[in-house]
Symmetry: C2
Subunit: 146 residues, 2 copies
DNA sequence: CTTGAAGCTATAGTTGCTAGAGACATTAGG
DNA sequence: CCTAATGTCTCTAGCAACTATAGCTTCAAG
């Protein structure tokens, strides 16, 4: 049995984050020692590693909640898990596209900055005038909402 | 002179966001009409467009605050603005690298999912075991913090 | 047996907004 | 000129996903 600190260390998750996951119901309430401290076994360790890994892959806690409940019922079809992963992939692809455009724009800004006075600074100038941009770089959320 | 709604429409920024920017001091307090409604001129419009554009490029509000104060003092050297833009570029590049790895991992997960039962689902399996991953895909923040 | 680290709870703060309530201002139509 | 609809006002609370703080208790090492 591990204390919360050991568990956090092992899984690469900070202690308050583990308590937070318990609070929002992603982790079940932990067993307690005689002195009221949380104790974790192998199962909790695996569940936390799952959560951590999914977070690393960019899944939201809501998506993870769904994936965990799927994982708890191994007899169901995996279509739902597949759908969640696919939608996450779409998400990532769109962010990737946007970031690529941003990178190009920032590079242009930085390269063109001659190191003179602010009055002639390309960085400030470009930020003040979108028409100086070569690429489209809007937030997808701005359109996607609804 | 524009009302807050017209300004928001023109700049592509929602009305409460404009009030929020004023509240946190990114925009100066607006003039008011006789009926206490905010009125904006050309200068405010430009400033808001600057903010909006910088946000689109992923700058934080703190960075934008710095950029704006630079832009307000055109006689200074533009080294600071350049540094902010460069650090933003570094940020974007690192997110880009990480997202690229994520994309590869998600693609692997999704492709390998045969569409059977959860018990055999690659998505769930991979999430449960990082060693099944081909690439490194951690949050940079986790390391970068301090 | 004492001390310092690690644990506990509870609350508040972070970033960048967004949503709601309830009251006042403005504008278009009849 | 009155009314209805829309716009604006302030204020507060909420979102994700934690992180930090305060003030306490418990545990492990020397």
């Amino acid at each position: 049995m591990l204390t919360i600190g050991k568990l956090g260390e092992a899984a690469g998750v900070k202690v308050p984050t583990i308590r937070y996951y318990e609070q929002i119901g992603l982790l079940p309430e932990a067993e307690r020692s005689s002195g009221n401290q949380r104790l974790y076994g192998r199962k909790a360790m695996k569940r936390l590693a799952f959560i951590r890994h999914a977070r690393d892959l960019g899944f939201t806690l809501e998506a993870i909640r769904d994936l965990l409940s799927l994982s708890d019922n191994p007899d169901q079809s995996c279509a739902a898990a597949d759908a969640i992963a696919r939608s996450q992939l779409v998400e990532v692809e769109s962010r990737l596209a946007r970031l690529t455009a941003l990178k190009a724009e920032l590079e242009r800004m930085v390269v063109q900055c001659a190191g003179g006075k602010i009055a002639d600074c390309r960085v400030i100038e470009v930020l003040g005038d979108h028409s100086l941009c070569a690429t489209d770089h809007r937030h997808p959320e701005t359109e996607a909402t609804q």
